[in-house]
Symmetry: C2
Subunit: 341 residues, 2 copies
Amino acid sequence: MPELRRDPVTGQSVVIAESRSQRPGAFEAVHDDLAVEDCPFCEGSEHLTPGEVAALRYDGTEVDAPGWQVRVVPNKYPATSLGGDASSHVDASSSAGSDWFVAEPAIGSHEVIIESPRHIRSVSELGVAELADAFRMYAGRLAHHRRSGRARYAMVFKNVGSGAGASMPHTHSQLITLPSVPAPVARELRGSLEFYANNGRCVYCELIDRERGDCARVVAESKWYVAICPFASRFPYEVWLLPRNHASSYETSTSCQSGAAASLTHRVLRGVERLLGRPDYNYVIHTAPFDTETLDHYHWRLELIPRLSKIAGFELGAGVYINPVAPETAARQLREVLEPE
Amino acid sequence: MPELRRDPVTGQSVVIAESRSQRPGAFEAVHDDLAVEDCPFCEGSEHLTPGEVAALRYDGTEVDAPGWQVRVVPNKYPATSLGGDASSHVDASSSAGSDWFVAEPAIGSHEVIIESPRHIRSVSELGVAELADAFRMYAGRLAHHRRSGRARYAMVFKNVGSGAGASMPHTHSQLITLPSVPAPVARELRGSLEFYANNGRCVYCELIDRERGDCARVVAESKWYVAICPFASRFPYEVWLLPRNHASSYETSTSCQSGAAASLTHRVLRGVERLLGRPDYNYVIHTAPFDTETLDHYHWRLELIPRLSKIAGFELGAGVYINPVAPETAARQLREVLEPE
């Protein structure tokens, strides 16, 4: 059973999941050369994954058989787990009653969302309508876990390429639920609550107004969404996609809104790949914790992070990112290569 | 002039340093195959770097000429800078009086500490006495910057291999000074101050006692230092080296203490490299900010981080590290491969 540990001084949370050291490529490069016939995420290889927990399927096809467009399966090497013996794997030195070495079972779900039956690397290779289906699935799975009442927090994230932490080359995202809100997320929530208390307004709504009023860091916008390079970009060509109208939870997006979010993400991602030569990348969806009602002070967003520069000692030690490309430069270059809507 | 920016919501600091996009390998793999004759850090190529600011030299040798053992030069592509026009490069959208988009000049020093005139990759290839000289130089440079009164915070860090963010293969460390204490460091200081207020004791002194009492996570110890795999290790085989006696600032170490820290670091690093096949790695020295007197509640440490697993979307998004190797496992394996003292 994986466990969640907290550093006794900094409060930093980590998941200790020894089962993950068994996964392919745990400590080596991604299997970029994985042949299609060996890929467990390809159509026809459904028997190579744990049984699906959700799928978008053509009428008349069967569970765990071909005929799907988006397929969700439990991660074979999970970082969080719903079952098992909660007391197993507890640190040998944590004595009862001690608040020093706090380890709890990492109770939660860890799912893989396979966005295409085809052996493609990046969701930019999908059609916009296909990516829209994937984005609707993200919302559906988040809504499912919110309803289940068993988790307090969830994040959808994507790793593409070994430099971004992927261990499988076939396009997929992941969803992890946690029993508690991680400290960095809690800090962001407190920051936005404080702004709301002082200004009566969502800090991200204010941010969007300021960025749209100036345009220096705006990459693109559509009727419902805006894409910006954030003022304090940690990474070169980092892009945030935010809904223009206030919304704290991604999973409350309508089908139409999810489709529009996918459309702008697709357009921006194609621009990023054209400009930067198909880099490794991550995207993550920040959404409100499950234990809250709709929040007036928080705003969901998707962060797209091309992995051009490595995270080095200064970033790990001081927690300060060194970014060699100003977001104003990145936004201008991205605007220049963006395809017309 | 590089600038220091703060995210308006999370307070996350970043350095925007566009000059660094000009450095070799800014967005590509390290020049692992860099020929010795092209290496600016090798003895005889002193003219290829900015002029040295400090060096450990044989008697009778001249500045910026051969005959050194450890050499310190300004980083050619600095993340922080002492000179220049402080108002240049200021974000176009930051209007006067706005506390929204806070950018200040990233005033500070960025030095490269070249630990050997020989073209070696890892300080494990140095003799213990040579690494001791390097560790004394780290202390000397930190003490210099503390005395200068121009910086509030400094970190010494090392990147080895492209996966750890190195752009040059010849062994070197770096030192960056900052005009303010980064938020994650300030949080750690607050956490340790709180513990001190409640318990009348340095939290790390308490940690060392608990770890030494149990031994499950102790890798090695010497008269003055102990090496442990921390309870909430973010990375597989992460090792912390801490002084057994209370000390908040690395730079107050005596020559003898620096030498002993180098000796235990050398022993642990050789064990890590034997066990893991010479992985890329970072080490960083956490030391108290310059604007404080000696602190009773804080304790310096060196963190050694082998870079086996990639930092992926969940780590970047939720700030929670997933570690597939429990620190108890890592410490046991490291103990087994450690050379005798």
